[in-house]
């Protein structure tokens, strides 16, 4: 049995595979295809016949992706670079926030009387929790309000936005510097043995991080590989 929506989904994913067409381009072509199919079925063609005739008139996937590639090629790469930069920036923000927060916790815990391994454990937990929290927060903002990067583009394109971004980076650096000096000032009062215990724990967690991070990234690369979702944009 011929299922038009099913066929259109397949056709969409074959167009999406080349990555030279943007989602909105495919939506526009689908609108055209559907309108032509309606026109042809009104001329007494079956839905299946109409689909193939309309597809033939629209042009084969190879030449469509080639033509779109000519105009979208450079845009595609600047977009990829843009998102790579957004990713890197998010990573830096998450790392800095996690380090600053954990440093604060360590100082508070030390004032509360915790020592040695306990400080190391607290330091690690705080870093992991804050790192994940910031990544999750940025991901949520991106997913809900900013599917195409419009928010980031708007902020980066606006004079005030640029100022806020710049000021934000300065604040992060200032906090980082402050904690960098705060920690030695605190640990200078720890005994060498206690400092050693904390450092050993840190070394182990860093080892886990160094092995875990590439594995997480690899998994993300495999699972987040761009593919056309099985959903049509203008399905009736």
């Amino acid at each position: 049995m011929f299922d038009l929506n099913d066929q259109i989904i397949k056709w969409r994913s074959s167009l999406a595979e080349s990555q030279t067409l943007e989602r909105s381009d495919i939506d526009e072509l689908e609108g055209h295809l559907r309108e032509e199919i309606e026109h042809l079925t009104a001329l007494k063609l079956s839905q299946e016949e109409a689909f193939y005739v309309a597809l033939h008139r629209l042009g084969d996937t190879g030449s469509l992706t080639e033509e779109f590639g000519k105009i979208n090629g450079s845009v595609l790469w600047s977009k990829r670079l843009f998102w790579a930069a957004v990713g890197l920036f998010s990573y830096i923000i998450a790392t800095y926030t996690a380090k600053c927060a954990s440093a604060g916790f360590v100082v508070l815990a030390w004032l509360a009387g915790l020592r040695g391994y306990a400080l190391g454990v607290l330091d690690t937990i705080a870093q992991v929790v804050f790192f994940l929290a910031v990544i999750f927060l940025l991901y949520e903002i991106g997913r809900r309000k900013d599917r195409r990067g419009e928010l980031f583009c708007k902020v980066a394109g606006n004079l005030w936005g640029k100022f806020v971004l710049f000021a934000g980076v300065l604040v992060i650096i200032a906090v980082k510097l402050a904690t960098q000096f705060l920690i030695p000032a605190t640990v200078a009062r720890l005994s060498v043995r206690q400092w050693g215990e904390m450092a050993i724990f840190r070394a182990y967690t860093e080892l886990v991080w160094m092995i875990g991070m590439p594995l997480i990234l690899l998994t993300a690369l495999i699972f987040l590989r761009p593919s056309e979702p099985a959903k049509t944009g203008t399905a009736p």
């Binding site: 526009e28 055209h32 032509e36 629209l58 030449s63 779109f68 979208n72 944009g233």
Partner: protein
């Protein structure tokens, strides 16, 4: 008689701009208009119109906007911008020059046609 591929490609931009000069329109309707004007003799591969439209938009000659069609479907419309009108006028005089030049030559030897 079909028009050669090169000529179709060369005339695509002025054709699209001229159709949009009649009023805003969208891909499918533009294709139908070309078909109607040429009595079906200028055959475009439908999909090739869209890269042309997007290129014209990037050059700042036309502007696209989305609107819900009468069928309740989201559709991308295009409208001519001021720069597009100016470009069209320039292209028009170029095409008229080519046309009048060829015409003078061809009218001398009508047997060739």
């Amino acid at each position: 008689m079909a028009v050669s591929k090169d000529l179709v490609a060369a005339s695509a931009a002025p054709l699209v701009l001229s159709i949009l000069a009649e009023g805003e329109s969208y891909g499918y309707a533009i294709i139908k208009r070309v078909c109607e004007l040429s009595a079906g003799r200028m055959e475009w591969t439908d999909g090739m119109l869209y890269p042309v439209l997007h290129r014209l938009e990037r050059q700042g000659l036309i502007k696209s906007f989305e609107r819900i069609s009468e069928m309740g479907r989201k559709r991308r419309y295009y409208r001519l911008k001021k720069k597009g009108t100016e470009t069209l006028a320039k292209q028009r005089s170029e095409w008229m020059l080519v046309y009048s030049t060829l015409k003078q030559l061809w009218e001398k030897e009508p047997c060739l046609i």
